[in-house]
Symmetry: C2
Subunit: 350 residues, 2 copies
């Protein structure tokens, strides 16, 4: 028999089981759906998880074995006996599965596979979509708040602090919110520091403190006249709109990425398609859900978009000597198109 | 040659390298101290980390190999070639190392070991201690704030929200703060719900949003007369004080745990030493630093306390039909004793 085992502490585990636990394992197969949890968590696991069968460490013989061996050996041995008794011969594990167990499963055919729940999570249920909508709404509200207080001379640090506090008060947690200005915006991942001048990239990606679902949203705010930045922003806005226009069930991730790149290249800017070191130097987007980066990757893949997938479309342009711009929306795929979940004007001037 | 490799995304990696990265690896040995990072992080890694040598994925041949194979195989192959060129024969990895790499390192002598940085982190530098002091101070302030607003009939949920917002405003992030009341306090890990009645356990363990260091602090607030709870609290306070009194450099974790258990048992209550299912059903404490639970474990181990270790002393008593109580301080070990970092009266009445 074949069984897939993954470990607690990951979004996939939470998604698959409906509960957050520590030091726990979820084994799933055709005839198997079992949680293995520390003794003191058994009651909570039975009440709080979707998984029907829950076994404690004691019930797989861990504490008995612990008398004669170290903790890791005792756990691996207990797991092996449990699997053998269930008739398991082949064990699939995700790439990030703990090495000590993977190496300890001698006598089994151990195979590393993509976590099947990653793929499943890409398509959101109606319930999940409602949660993401909630976070998207708070995100846009937070941006509107920030737009009201941003001005030349204020520090990126105080603006980040203000917007993160605004979100916390509404029940969301945002960390490393990008509030970056001046030429420092040329580094896509730089969270920003120093005084506001020229323009500001605001990239907000909070999660709900209640249900854990994220949103992701970026706008570039124009503060002072910067013709080159405005020209880049015009192109990036058009690229984002074009990307969003082609999204519908059945087309591939690559087609969305290509649509975005074509607009950018048509204005003479470079993209990763022509190995740019400056220009549009990242992918078009990524799935958003229980993690801020999840499936699908909107890049060079032939994976098809499916109804209910939620992801970002976020072209940007980055030049060390000029600065960077980016606009980003979170969208949900529909049958014949998509819906923007972070609806907000693309052009923003403070 | 022997090398230890660990991966990003863990407190140990951050501690060892001084930087937070994604999909990165730190290889350390007698003649080796190298970071392997995604190409776009190289600049940031050079500037921001303590590690002198930084190699990008491209520089170990990942992107070249990626043309002919999947991402995981390309990375494992690149790592193997890198290690061979360095003359490495034996590779040590921590228990939570990604399975796909551990299983892929064929031809090397792969050994799972405790992460050496876990042990190192247990003893705090003066700089780390200052950071922990800062978080301890905010934690006690937050408790004082909560004490001012707690009263019968208010909900545990709103109190938790209020104290977490208080901390966020001061630059700290607290999650799952325990504000539990009534008989529901009999579950040590239950965060609490419903109206305040009888007594309240408040267990606050925030981390600094600036530097990431935690504190951990618990008091039981008496709201209404509950003679059994008061008696239990008296014992637990005495046990905590006794535990703290025996702490000094050179004694073992077990000796601290035993000192605490002896007080509890002397009043006729049960502990884990006599296999209690109710009573004092957890360990005496745990290290506090970049993680809220880290080394040392103050339980049944013969590890010796060392000057600069920071950990909690947190006896509790839990009975389903009565409820639970707990008091907890974070302390730092000194040569001939210890210092309480969360100094606050043990008896609290609202």
């Amino acid at each position: 028999m074949l069984v897939f085992i993954h470990h607690s502490g990951t979004a996939n585990f939470y998604y698959a089981t409906g509960i957050k636990l520590e030091s726990s394992y979820h084994a799933v197969g055709k005839k198997l759906d079992i949680l293995i949890v520390p003794d003191m968590e058994k009651e909570r696991a039975i009440k709080g998880s979707r998984v029907k069968e829950v076994l404690s460490y004691s019930e797989i013989g861990y504490h008995e074995r612990r008398k004669d061996m170290d903790a890791r050996s005792a756990f691996v041995e207990s797991l092996k006996v449990f699997l053998k008794e269930k008739g398991v011969k082949k064990v699939q594990i995700p790439p990030d599965f703990p090495a000590y167990i993977a190496l300890g499963l001698k006598g089994f055919d151990v195979q590393v596979v993509d976590n099947p729940f990653s793929k499943k999570r890409a398509v959101k249920t109606a319930e999940e979509l409602e949660k993401i909508r909630e976070t998207c709404k708070a995100t846009v509200d937070a941006f509107e708040f920030l737009k009201g207080i941003v001005k030349k001379g204020r520090s990126c640090e105080e603006l980040r602090e203000a917007v993160e506090l605004f979100l916390f008060q509404k029940g969301f947690i945002a960390r490393n919110t990008i509030v970056a200005s001046s030429k420092l915006t040329a580094l896509p991942h730089f969270i920003g520091e120093g005084e506001v001048e020229g323009h500001v990239i605001v990239d907000i990606f909070p999660k709900s403190r209640k249900h854990g679902y994220y949103a992701d949203f970026t706008r570039t705010i124009l503060i002072e006249p910067e013709p080159e930045i405005e020209e880049m922003l015009k192109v990036v806005i058009e690229a984002k709109q074009r990307g969003i226009a082609v999204i519908r069930e059945g087309i591939t991730c690559r087609e969305v990425h290509n649509a975005v790149c074509e607009v950018i290249e048509s204005y003479g800017y470079h993209t990763l398609r022509n190995k740019a070191k400056e220009g549009f130097i990242h992918s078009t987007g990524h799935g958003v859900g229980l993690e801020v980066h999840e499936e699908p990757k909107i890049f060079e893949s032939d994976d098809e978009l499916r109804k209910g997938m939620v992801f970002t479309v976020e072209p940007g342009l980055y030049y060390k000597n000029v600065g960077g711009v980016r606009v980003e929306d979170t969208v949900v795929v529909k049958k014949g198109g998509c819906e923007i979940l972070t609806s907000y004007p693309d052009w923003v001037r403070a």
